[in-house]
C-alpha cells in the first residue's frame, strides 16, 4: 500500500455487510483518529464484532459474507482492487475475546508474526520479543521462562501474550474484540491499564458491552444498535448526555 494523504487512520463510509441475505451492518460511517481509543458499544448481536472483523477483512473467511461501502485504511480502500489482505492484516493487529495463544513456547508465540514476514535474524527476533512483551507488560513475569508453552500461562497472562503477539509486527492499529470479558476483574483492570498505555503509540478500536469500561478507557465511542450506528462522538459526551433514547436505554441498563 502506498502512503496517501489521509486525516484519520481508518475512515468508514456507508459500510453495509451481509451474511447471506441477512443484513448485519446498515450504512455505517465513522472514522478512527490516530493514537486514540475508540469503544464500540452495543447490546449482544448488534454487529460489533462483525464491524471489527470487517476492518481487517477477517470476515472474508465466511463464504456468505458480502460488503458494500468503503473502508479506507491510511487513505486506501481495503476492499479495493489490488489491496493485499495479508499486508492489511499485518498492519492491523487483532486481539480476540478468548485468549488464544498458539500451542508453542512463549518466545515462538511472539516470533511467529515477524518470522512470517521474513525476519529471521536471531538477535533482532530476541530484541523484538523482549520489546513486545515489555509493551504488553508481561516481560517481568515471563522473562525467565520464554521456552515454556504459552497456553500454560494464566488467563490474564495469556491475553497479554496475545496482545504482545499482535504488537510483534508493529501494526499502527489494534483491534480488540471484548478482550477482558473472559478474564477475572484483576486481570481485566491490568489489561485496561495496558490499553491506556498503548494509546501513545497505537490506534485502538475496542469492542465492549461494558459501559463503565468504555468510559474508563476510551476517547471516542460508537454505539451500535441492531446494525445501525446510533451515536458516534466523544465518549464523555455520549455517556453524560446521550442524544438518542436507545443509547440512554443501553447506558442505564434497560437494553443489553
Amino acid at each position: 500500500m502506498s502512503t496517501q494523504e489521509y486525516t484519520n487512520v481508518i475512515e468508514v463510509e456507508n459500510l453495509s455487510t451481509w451474511f447471506g441475505s441477512c443484513k448485519i451492518l446498515k450504512e455505517i460511517s465513522c472514522y478512527f483518529e490516530d493514537n486514540s481509543v475508540t469503544a464500540i458499544m452495543g447490546p449482544s448481536g448488534c454487529g460489533k464484532s462483525t464491524f471489527l472483523r470487517t476492518l481487517n477483512r477477517l470476515n472474508d473467511l465466511v463464504p456468505s459474507f458480502r460488503q458494500k461501502g468503503i473502508v479506507r485504511f491510511m487513505g486506501e480502500n481495503i476492499y479495493g482492487q489490488g489491496a493485499s489482505v495479508y499486508d492489511l492484516r499485518k498492519r492491523i493487529g487483532m486481539v480476540f475475546q478468548k485468549p488464544n495463544p498458539f500451542p508453542m513456547s512463549i518466545y515462538d508465540n511472539i516470533a511467529y508474526g515477524p518470522k512470517l514476514h521474513g525476519l529471521n535474524d536471531k538477535d533482532e527476533l530476541d530484541k523484538l520479543v523482549e520489546g513486545s512483551l515489555k509493551k504488553a507488560a508481561l516481560w517481568d513475569e515471563v522473562k525467565d521462562e520464554l521456552d515454556k508453552p504459552g497456553p500454560n500461562l494464566s488467563g490474564g497472562q495469556q491475553q497479554r501474550l496475545c496482545i504482545a503477539r499482535a504488537l510483534s509486527v508493529n501494526p499502527p492499529v489494534l483491534l480488540m474484540d471484548e478482550p477482558v470479558s473472559s478474564l477475572d476483574p484483576i486481570s481485566a483492570s491490568k489489561i485496561e491499564e495496558l490499553i491506556t498505555d498503548l494509546k501513545k503509540d497505537y490506534t485502538i478500536i475496542l469492542v465492549t458491552h461494558n459501559v463503565q469500561q468504555a468510559f474508563r478507557v476510551s476517547d471516542q465511542a460508537a454505539f451500535l444498535y441492531l446494525g445501525e450506528l446510533v451515536e458516534f462522538d466523544r465518549t464523555k459526551r455520549i455517556l453524560e448526555a446521550p442524544a438518542d433514547e436507545r443509547t440512554e436505554a443501553f447506558i442505564t441498563g434497560r437494553i443489553g
Binding site: 495479508y86 492484516r89 498458539f102 508453542m104
Partner: protein, 323 residues
C-alpha cells in the same frame, strides 16, 4: 508440653485401632443396607455385573498373551540372548530350522514403504478436505468413501491388490505391491483420525494466525497442524499397528521368501512377513514350526505393543510441550 500428656507415638496405635473398628462398622452397616432395601440391592447388583463385564473384557488379552507366550517363550529364551538374537537374525535355512530374519525384516520393510506412501497421502488428504474445502458434497463423498474403505475386509484388499497392482499395473508380486496394498488399508484410519484432530483445533487459533497476516498455507502448517499433531501421530501409529498384523492383504501381493528382499519390484522383491509366517508355520504339521509360529506371534505382539506405547508417550510429551 506437660508430662501428664500421653506422647503421640504411644497413643497412635489406639487411634488407629478405633478407626479400624469404625470402618468395619461402616462396612457392616452398608452391607446391611444393601440387603435391607430393594433399590440399594439393585444398585449393588449392577455394580457387580459391570465388574464382571470388565473382567470378561480384559481376559482375552491376557489369555492370548499367556497361550502364545507359554509356547513361544521357550523358543525365544531357551538359550539366553543367543537364542533370542538367533531367532531374529538367522534365515530359516534347511527345513526352516533357523530363525525368522526374512519375516522380521520383511515386515519392517513393508511397514516403512507402506507408511511412506499411505501416511502423507492420508494426512494431506485430511488437511485438504478439512481446511480447504467447504462442508458439502465433496467432503461428504471423501468421508463416505474412506468410511467404506475402513469396513472392507482385508482379504478383499488382498484380492484388489492382486488384480490391480500385481496384474493390471504389472508390478508383479513383491515388496512394492504388498506395501501399496497395506498403504490403502492405512488410509481410512489415518485420514479420519487426522480429520478429527484438525476439527478439534479451535477456529480462533487459525484466526489469530490469519490476523497476523499469515497465508492459509502457513497457518495450516505452523499452527493448525501443530495443534493437531498429538491426534495425528496417535492415528498414524494405530494404523501402523493395525497393518503390521495383517496377513490377508499380503497373501496375493507380497509373495513369500526365505531371504530378505533385494529389490523393490521384480522377482528379487518377494518378501516374507511376520503374520504370513505365523500363518504358514502354524498350518504346517511339523511340531517345531508350530513353536516357532508362537514365538513369532510373541515378537509381533510385542512390536505392536511397543508402537502403541511409543504412540502414547509421544502424544503425551508433545501435548505437554505444546498445549
Amino acid at each position: 508440653m506437660s508430662k501428664t500428656e500421653t506422647p503421640l507415638d504411644e497413643r497412635a496405635p489406639d487411634v488407629f485401632q478405633s478407626e479400624k473398628r469404625e470402618r468395619l462398622k461402616e462396612f457392616k452397616s452398608s452391607m446391611l443396607n444393601i440387603v435391607k432395601s430393594r433399590r440399594n440391592f439393585k444398585d449393588f447388583l449392577f455394580h457387580i455385573i459391570l465388574g464382571i463385564g470388565i473382567i470378561i473384557i480384559i481376559m482375552p488379552f491376557f489369555l492370548v498373551l499367556y497361550q502364545v507366550a507359554s509356547v513361544g517363550f521357550g523358543e525365544l529364551f531357551s538359550n539366553g540372548f543367543d537364542s533370542f538374537s538367533n531367532f531374529f537374525l538367522t534365515e530359516p535355512g534347511r527345513g526352516l530350522m533357523g530363525g525368522i530374519r526374512n519375516a522380521f525384516f520383511g515386515t519392517i520393510f513393508l511397514i516403512i514403504l507402506a507408511s511412506a506412501v499411505g501416511i502423507p497421502l492420508s494426512v494431506f488428504g485430511a488437511v485438504y478436505i478439512n481446511e480447504y474445502t467447504r462442508p458439502g458434497r465433496i467432503r461428504d463423498m471423501v468421508e463416505f468413501t474412506s468410511d467404506v474403505l475402513a469396513g472392507i475386509p482385508s482379504i478383499v484388499f488382498g484380492a484388489f491388490g492382486f488384480a490391480f497392482l500385481v496384474g493390471f499395473l504389472g508390478l508383479g508380486m513383491g515388496l512394492l505391491s504388498g506395501s501399496l496394498t497395506l498403504a490403502f488399508m492405512m488410509i481410512p484410519t489415518v485420514l479420519r483420525t487426522t480429520q478429527e484432530a484438525l476439527r478439534a483445533v479451535p477456529m480462533s487459533l487459525r484466526e489469530a494466525s490469519l490476523a497476523l497476516g499469515a497465508t492459509k498455507w502457513s497457518t495450516t502448517w505452523n499452527v493448525t497442524m501443530r495443534a493437531a499433531f498429538p491426534g495425528v501421530i496417535t492415528g498414524v501409529l494405530l494404523a501402523i499397528g493395525r497393518v503390521m498384523g495383517e496377513t490377508a492383504p499380503l497373501i496375493f501381493t507380497s509373495g513369500n521368501s526365505l531371504t530378505t528382499p533385494t529389490e523393490i519390484v521384480g522377482p528379487g522383491s518377494w518378501v516374507a512377513s511376520m503374520p504370513y509366517t505365523i500363518w504358514s508355520y502354524i498350518t504346517d504339521p511339523r511340531q517345531y514350526l508350530n513353536i516357532k509360529a508362537h514365538a513369532t506371534a510373541v515378537a509381533l505382539m510385542t512390536m505392536v505393543l511397543a508402537i502403541d506405547i511409543v504412540a502414547n508417550i509421544i502424544s503425551r510429551k508433545v501435548t505437554r510441550r505444546l498445549v
